[in-house]
Point group: C2
Chain length 240, copies 2
Amino acid sequence: MQETEAEFLKKYDRREYLAPLMTVDAAIFTFHGGKLLVLLTERCEHPEKGKWALPGGFVDEEKDASLEEAIQRKLQEKTGVKAPYIEQLISVGNNQRDARGWSVTVVYTALVALQSCQSFVDNVSDVRWEMYEEALKMDLAFDHIEIMKAARERLKQKALYSMVPAYALPEEFTLPELQHCLEVLIDKPIQKKSFRRRVEQADLMEEVGLRSADKKGRPSMAYRLKEGVKDFTFIRNLDA
Amino acid sequence: MQETEAEFLKKYDRREYLAPLMTVDAAIFTFHGGKLLVLLTERCEHPEKGKWALPGGFVDEEKDASLEEAIQRKLQEKTGVKAPYIEQLISVGNNQRDARGWSVTVVYTALVALQSCQSFVDNVSDVRWEMYEEALKMDLAFDHIEIMKAARERLKQKALYSMVPAYALPEEFTLPELQHCLEVLIDKPIQKKSFRRRVEQADLMEEVGLRSADKKGRPSMAYRLKEGVKDFTFIRNLDA
């Protein structure tokens, strides 16, 4: 008689099969002091102990119902970051990247406001925001340099057609602040005129009032994004 | 004394830890007879035995050095397809999708020419090209319906800004054939004039000679893509 699925499952024992190591990692960026920063954690266990790395770790089958839950839990535990949006970037899997054996990591990426997690980061020694340009020169653990570069490239592309830069700013911001953030994300200057035309035509923001005067004595208007427009995408990439 | 990394690795045994099930799957599309087709295989083992599914399977640590090698091997073994380009679409992992337990699949997608694998597919009973619209109504294994839909959406988006439709055609094709394929991929008619302007301005194709006359007695020019332009992307999405 043929075996039923129930009979098959009763006999099936995953421990009889060797599966690759399965981790989730995240490249989390923010914008602060005119610079792009990336979130790093110091590895406190072997392998690659003592090296800095993108935050992440193993899926915990008891705690995590999905990969998305796994990365949000790891981020919270290790860095205090709760990312309001997080997107899957890529999965990398091969027999070279981890000395423990065949290893797969599912990589996520997000842009967050510094304010959302600064108190946690300030209070632990094994988490820090590093300037992206400096992180590029570091000897990060595993293949995290390559993963970080891929995430930075995705962020650049995304900034060209979306409102993703607003995720890195406080809730209220001025147009020069938004423009500066966008310029850092795409790594190019933008003409003020074309920037203003673009954001005004899209009608994504509302005024929240004048800020007190800057050094030159001019007050500037503060804005916030309208409800539900954070996922807005422009039809055309920014000419940059 | 502190343990060194070498000592740690010597003691480390992956079999002591339970890792999620790790598979690769592929949504492979082609264009034939004016229709979008998707490649399906019949499951010959539990679980979900007898259901049709996207081709794929477990990573084999002995045979596969990377996820990319794993999916290409699985495609070759199961379907005879050798995809000239294959891209990673998404990874899906949770405790619901497979009755055997916590499971992750890394999903790839590609568009191929039917000619590239037809003889293999014709000779086995557990592989077939199914019309996409029909596959949507099938009870595919696992979460493969959702994965197939996500792959189809990516293909649509990609067709709007790239030359990916050419992957589905024979090496030599006419402009009406390319336009028809593109229309099926984006699921909308295109104006002949704007289609021609777009492909001509991009200068991606070269003439290979006149085809014999069609039913109306007019010969048509056959083209092929120039060397190295398959990865070309248009700056602007097609207005469709």
